[in-house]
């Protein structure tokens, strides 16, 4: 059985913030990608472009 090694509260907080930032960025890119492959480009603020 592996030794249970846990991250400290500070590290967990940092990880959470980073996780949220990364996930938001990924979904933002995904939204652009999904719409653009359908021929529906978006502006940077996600409003319809063109």
């Amino acid at each position: 059985m592996n030794q249970e090694t846990k991250m400290g509260p500070a590290a967990t907080l940092v990880a959470t913030v980073i996780a949220f930032v990364v996930v938001v960025a990924v979904f933002y890119g995904l939204d652009h990608f999904v719409m653009s492959i359908q021929g529906l480009p978006l502006n940077a603020d996600l409003t319809p472009a063109g």
């Binding site: 059985m1 592996n2 030794q3 249970e4 090694t5 846990k6 991250m7 590290a11 967990t12 990880a15 959470t16 996780a19 949220f20 990364v22 996930v23 938001v24 979904f27 995904l30 939204d31 999904v34 719409m35 492959i37 359908q38 021929g39 529906l40 996600l46 409003t47 319809p48």
Partner: protein
């Protein structure tokens, strides 16, 4: 052997991965397919305003004029027959009702016996990889209880063919001409399938270990391959009727058999039926396990059937989750093929039926989730996640209510009178209504969350980065839900139709991201995880009723969707090329369809009971000189 091995199935990813890969392969082209502009729209000619510089009445073949004009000798094109009403035999009862019942029964059993060998093979493989005999036994038992289903499928299929040839002779003559020798291939495959079926089933214990196991797995693979081929061949007839290809506008065959088969709706139907079959098969065998669980007090048997019921539910719900997306692809292709056909389905007189569909799918999701929550009592680690259940339940119920709310809350008399042309449904193809889209996606995510916490409930992560992994999963859930709501509200209500439709893909992708990353991250976090004790069989009796609700709802749902699929052809045998002039060429009301579906569902239920009964008969031995002993069902 590990003592926790039954639970391992939860973390067994082969099945999950297989299903998702199959689904993704089908879905990715679906996205691009949905965005391509309509290729050709089949529709009633005169009912459309089109700059057609000549007189053309529906069903009136223009080729007849061309044929009289000289160059007819060039080809020998035979147009589709145009039977008049007197050409349809009248047997005193509705021919359509007869064919309806037989076709639906054939599809039910066909779906069951195609699906069961598929997951049986995966379970058998799992058993071989883990070296746990219990997988092997369960796989064998799944085969046993569905064995009679193969004969039933064939018998009903034969009856269906007989009914079709006798009641719709012109139509069948035409189909024979179009599909030609493909029928022979189809018939031949039955022999092949039977061969693999019997060698696979009866060879189970003979080819059990070592290299012989590989032989056995190969037999199973071939059984699935032949079954799948049979299914796609049969699907091509249905899709040809909906969206004919390989024939000209009067139905004369101009292409080869491949062009006839490969119509625009073939692959969407193939994928949709393939996934639905698995969900359906899982649900039916789950009911068997639930019944066996309830009828015994033996803890060992209860543990076994609890595990079997859990596995069945796992298969059914996991296959069910991607089904809406496959359905989405199918509807998108229907719209691409014919706007008219899509509108008939989603915005026309059939639109109400999607309320019933919502009730059925809601039942399935609630039952599946309820079963998972009840099952959490098996493990001691589940208390960590219990608090989430009430939120999941609330989400499901609220979303379900949004979903079943009719689009127009208060119908005026005029709106009801104008039912055929309610504009809301038309604006977004697929009848996309943003609020309902949000609701459906959130329901899927909630159901997956139930799954995920269930899977986690007996494990404690040991990897050092577990908190970070958990944070990532939480972030994905939160952002995906926010993205789905944002897409539905913003694009659905504040932009134009194109963006509204396009944003539904965005929502679907968000849901998929949650599901796929959830599976992947969890499998990494719980690598070498510490497992908490869990107790199979420790589940409330009432949870088993969820396993009865699932197959009933699935069966009814299949019947309902079959009614839509067939009805969108309206008054055509073969859309745009062969008109249906029979007395039953109208679309029946939803109430009539509902009664028919109930009849076939109950018939199916009875025949399934017979199937299970026969399966148990084989392992029941009458005790000598004792009063009747075969009390098992």
């Amino acid at each position: 052997m590990k003592n926790n091995s039954p639970r391992q199935l939860i973390s067994q990813t082969p099945l999950a991965i297989l299903l998702w890969v199959i689904f993704l392969v089908g879905f990715v082209p679906g996205i691009s397919g949905a965005s391509t502009v309509q290729a050709a729209e089949g529709t009633g000619v005169e009912t459309r305003i089109a700059p057609v510089g000549r007189v053309q009445v529906e069903g009136q073949p223009i080729v007849e004029v061309e044929v009289t004009a000289a160059d007819a000798a060039e080809t020998e094109l035979i147009a589709a027959p145009r039977p008049s009403r007197k050409d349809y035999p009248n047997i005193g009862v509705s021919s359509r009702a007869v064919v309806w019942i037989l076709a639906q029964m054939h599809l039910f059993f066909g779906a069951l016996v195609l699906a069961v060998p598929l997951f049986v093979l995966v379970i058998e493989l799992t058993g071989m990889i883990t070296g746990d005999d219990r997988y092997d036994d369960m796989a064998h038992e799944f085969m046993k209880i569905s064995l009679v289903g193969f004969s039933l499928t064939a018998i009903i299929g034969g009856s269906l063919a007989l009914a079709l040839f006798m009641l719709y002779p012109d139509f069948m003559a035409y189909m024979m001409r179009v599909f030609g020798a493909q029928w022979l291939v189809y018939a031949g495959l039955f022999f092949l399938e039977s061969f693999f079926l019997y060698t696979y089933y009866y060879g189970w214990n003979a080819f059990r270990y070592g290299n012989k196991k590989w032989l056995h797995l190969t037999l199973g693979l071939m059984l699935n391959a032949s079954g799948m081929t049979i299914m796609v061949l049969a699907n091509s007839w249905a899709t040809f009727m909906m969206a004919p290809s390989g024939v000209n506008e009067v139905g004369a065959v101009v292409g080869n058999i491949w062009e006839v088969m490969k119509g625009p709706l073939w692959n969407p139907i193939n994928l949709h039926r393939f996934i639905a079959n698995i969900a359906f098969g899982g649900a039916v065998v789950g009911a068997y396990a639930a019944f066996k669980f309830l009828s015994t007090r033996d803890p060992a048997l209860r543990a076994h059937y609890d595990w079997m019921g859990y596995t069945s539910n796992f298969i059914a719900i996991l296959a069910f989750l991607p089904l809406p997306f496959a359905g989405y692809w199918l509807m998108a292709e229907i719209y691409a093929y014919s706007q008219q056909m899509g509108i008939t389905a989603m915005g026309g007189i059939l639109a109400w039926l999607f309320i019933v569909q919502a009730v059925l799918i809601g039942t399935i999701l609630l039952a599946g989730n309820f079963y998972l929550w009840s099952g959490m009592s098996r493990t001691e680690g589940s208390v960590r996640y219990q608090w989430l259940i009430k939120y999941i339940a609330a989400t499901l119920v609220i979303c379900f209510l949004i979903w079943v709310t009719p689009h127009t809350l208060i119908l005026s008399a005029r709106e009801i009178a104008a039912l055929g042309g309610s504009h809301h449904h038309i604006l977004g193809p697929l009848g996309i209504m943003p609020a309902k889209n949000i609701a459906v996606n959130l329901m899927l995510i909630a159901t997956f969350l139930s799954f995920q916490i269930y899977r986690r409930s007996d494990k404690v992560a040991t990897v050092s980065w577990a908190p970070a992994g958990n944070a990532l999963i939480v972030a994905i859930y939160v952002v995906a839900v926010a993205n789905i709501i944002f897409a539905g509200v913003y694009y659905g209500y504040f932009t134009n139709t194109l963006y509204k439709v396009g944003s539904s893909v965005m929502q679907v992708v968000s849901t998929l991201v949650v599901i796929i990353t959830g599976i992947v991250i969890d499998s990494l976090i719980f690598k070498n995880a510490k497992t908490l004790p869990s107790h199979w069989g420790r589940i409330p009796d009432r949870a088993q009723y969820a396993l009865f609700a699932l197959p009933i709802a699935f069966t009814w749902l299949m019947g309902l969707m079959g009614y839509v699929r067939s009805s969108v052809k309206t008054h055509w045998h073969v859309y745009t090329v062969m008109k249906d002039n029979s007395p039953d060429n109208f679309i029946p009301t939803i109430g009539y369809a509902g009664n028919m579906i109930t009849i076939v569902t109950v018939l199916f239920l009875l025949m399934v009971l017979f199937m299970f009964w026969v399966a148990n008969l084989g392992s029941t031995r009458q005790p000598e000189a004792s009063a009747d002993g075969g009390a098992t069902v």
